[in-house]
Subunit: 473 residues, 2 copies
């Protein structure tokens, strides 16, 4: 966006925050004060970006955690290690740091899954599957049954008990490539992964395989959470790679009868104590007002949880590191929260929001980074129109750093329960094209994170925290 | 950018093209006609993006070329194969296709380079180097000499003959991480790679090693072009990986004497005939007016030239594929040019521009894609202010696809010679953060290209071609 256009927005579209404070000034006065104010803020924000690209540590922290600890499923020894690692990082930055106890579910994948298909044309082959998180075991002997393909709930209903009983239901809805923002495609498909086992069991299915939520055709299965429901029989559920989903679908389209054997030895153990890890800088003027920045520390148990959401937690802590390096003394308390158990329970989010409700603090804003460590594009804002427009008005300064999509939208799973009538939840939105190549798969690894993209994300969030702290919302 | 802001830009900043045609209409009328016009164009452009993400073939073409042919250094058998492959692709799309003869230099790397360092503290180790393109051989016995580090021409001058004679000069300027647009950092450093051997030879150096133009610290050396000058002795020149550059620099900083042995068996052969590969759709109204879209078909001889510039040529051809699928009949001739020999001679660019000058055609615009197959950000425009503003006004439609940086800037090496007083050169600008991880190294491979990012780039360029064809410049 060029300067002429930007000033035009500020003056004519009524978005600009200074006009809230002093509506009586002339347009010329407004323009002069806008320019002066922006000059200061622009310099500070330029310095945040410079510091992020030259002196910040989130990339190093992320590498340490991913390479030395690895994936961090709730209740695993690695999750416990990650809690200690994070606590020490925050302490080393001089933050007031604490661990907030959270009881988390404990699910174990067990031995590597095995699966193969056989077709009545004589073909046979291995399938790349991953048990969905929370699935029951198939038992040592596995489940072997004919498969039946559906793409919608309607398909399943039409098949009914006659078509489904004794079979494995194969949910094969593709992520829609037409959406520019890939999370929209994810949002459309994820219900089959989440609810497929319940719906299929109603018709007597003996198992479920779900096409991986991946826009590429490759061999990585992508796991994720699923549910069972009281009173409905539990059946095992797995994700199958997109390449194998295509293969199975092609066989079925050619009129073949296809059966699948799946063997998964997962188990659910008793809940265990884990922690949200929290650190903060106290506000100099309004310490009871909190600007929260966070992501989730837990990950799935494959890959090393680099993009989901190692990137988000390390960026969140990086925000505080940058504000410290800027020598900025926030008026409000800036708190970083590494939530536990986003992936399969949201227990950390629930625990934190219960704490927030019972405390005397006011969360002005909560910002979550949980969409990968990719190049910045914007923010999704869950607030009222005035709050949205105030943040959008800051595009004038942030646009040059690639932040030009400030839109109404969902903010994040961990911060969702913190919404009140007055506050604002914000999701950091990096470019979404590559996210689902990695998400919940063995391909979510540190080597796929670009250092500069991660750093630009940290600086983008830090800039927003700076502006919110300075001007409120 | 939100709608309110966009209309504001259109109405108040004088950027919008309809106002050029009909300056007397009222603001309300202008707004109405803007909205109507944009409604049609928006639909067409939305369809271009939909087609790119669902039915386009550049990713497949690029994969075929990178995996089956590989890197395509000018004059190599692979470059010849790539010429045939490209010619057939264009033919298969039904284009009027031809091969334009170009005499290209032929340089061969020969056997894999060997290099090691020794230090007077007794340490010793291999170094990852790649001969710079055009370098002479060291001969079979190699060159072994003490190294001396410089970061600027001034450093070299200060050392003078006393400090340099008989030594290998180690140019160790780091790419500046502070620039958001990484090509600016490249532009600042590349002179040492290009001219280092000449300047060092003036003081009696026996060889040159140059820090790779890579913002990461890793083990990939990045090659690239270099020059020799008439009357100045030729010395061998190589790029060294950033990790090894750091190692050497640390040893020197600790006061050690360090010597390097480098052995490279490169050779320059006689020029050879190769080709620019050209295809076009004739304009229905002004066939003598050409909108050119292109990239370069040759690459360096390491990796498989996926981002530099397989992505660019396949996107260029993809533009025509998309316009065909849209069933759009261009008023002007749309021509795709796969230039030969951008990397080490620009002979294809020179040949084509000589052709353009002697023909009766007018090149309205030439667009180059040569900055990698990454997610779109904008365009750099080399034209007058009115032309820049006209293209910038189209951000109203293109912004939602991530195109929001339309700025004055250099367009591309291949199209540069086509500039006249009247026409416009345009460089497609994808996100630049990852480009120099890959550029000119063994790490520039097809698996590092994301299908959707490539496709969004193709659609962005196709949209621009559509708008230029429809509204002129």
């Amino acid at each position: 966006m060029n300067t002429q256009a930007s000033i035009c927005i500020a003056l004519f579209s009524g978005l600009f925050f200074i006009s809230d404070i002093n509506a009586q000034i002339s347009p010329e006065q407004a323009e002069a004060s806008i320019e002066k104010q922006f000059a200061t803020d622009s310099l500070q924000i330029a310095e945040l970006f410079r510091l992020a690209l030259t002196e910040s540590h989130p990339y190093e922290w992320l590498g340490d955690m991913c390479k030395n600890i690895g994936p961090r499923l709730s209740g695993s020894p690695q999750a416990a290690e990650a809690v200690d690692y994070s606590f020490n990082l925050m302490n080393d930055l001089g933050l007031k740091t604490w661990k907030q106890p959270v009881m988390v579910p404990v699910w174990k994948r067990g031995e590597r899954e095995l699966a193969y298909y056989t077709s009545d044309d004589g073909s046979k082959g291995e399938l790349n599957i991953l048990a969905l998180g929370g699935s029951i075991s198939t038992g040592d002997e596995g489940v072997f049954a004919p498969i039946v393909e559906v793409t919608t709930w309607d398909d399943l209903e039409k098949l009914g008990e006659d078509g489904v009983k004794g079979k494995i239901v194969f949910f094969n809805e593709k992520m829609n490539p037409e959406n520019l923002y890939t999370f929209h495609s994810y949002g459309h498909c994820v219900m089959h992964r989440w609810g497929g086992a319940v719906e299929a069991a109603k018709y007597g299915a003996v198992g479920v395989i779900v096409r991986s939520l991946n826009m590429r055709i490759d061999d990585y299965p992508h796991t994720g959470s699923m549910k069972y429901e009281e009173g409905i029989g539990q059946i095992p559920a797995a994700a199958v790679s997109t390449a194998d989903a295509e293969l199975l679908s092609d066989l079925l389209k050619n009129g073949k009868d296809v059966s699948v054997m799946m063997r998964m030895l997962c188990e659910t153990l008793d809940d265990q104590e884990s922690y949200n890890v929290i650190g903060e800088i106290k506000g100099t003027q309004n310490p009871e007002n909190v600007i929260l920045v966070g992501g989730h520390l837990d990950s799935w148990d494959v890959g090393d949880g680099a993009h989901d959401d190692g990137a988000g937690v390390m960026q969140s802590l990086g925000v505080i590191e940058l504000l410290q390096k800027l020598n900025y003394k926030p008026k409000n308390t800036i708190r970083v929260v590494f939530f536990m158990n986003e992936e399969n329970g949201l227990r950390g989010a629930k625990t934190y929001s219960a704490y927030a409700e019972s405390s005397k603090e006011f969360h002005i804003a909560a910002i979550e980074s949980d969409r990968g460590g990719f190049t910045p594009r914007g923010f999704h804002v869950d607030g009222n129109e005035a709050q949205l427009q105030k943040i959008a008005s800051w595009e004038e300064i942030l646009d040059k750093y690639g932040i030009h999509k400030v839109e109404k939208g969902g903010a994040g799973a961990d911060i969702g329960p913190l919404k009140t009538d007055d506050n604002v939840l914000i999701g950091f939105v990096p470019d979404s094209q590559r996210y689902f190549d990695h998400h919940h798969s063995a391909n979510d690894t540190f080597d796929t994170v670009n250092k500069r993209e991660l750093e630009l994300g940290t600086a983008s969030i830090a800039s927003l925290v700076y502006l919110i702290d300075k001007y409120g919302l």
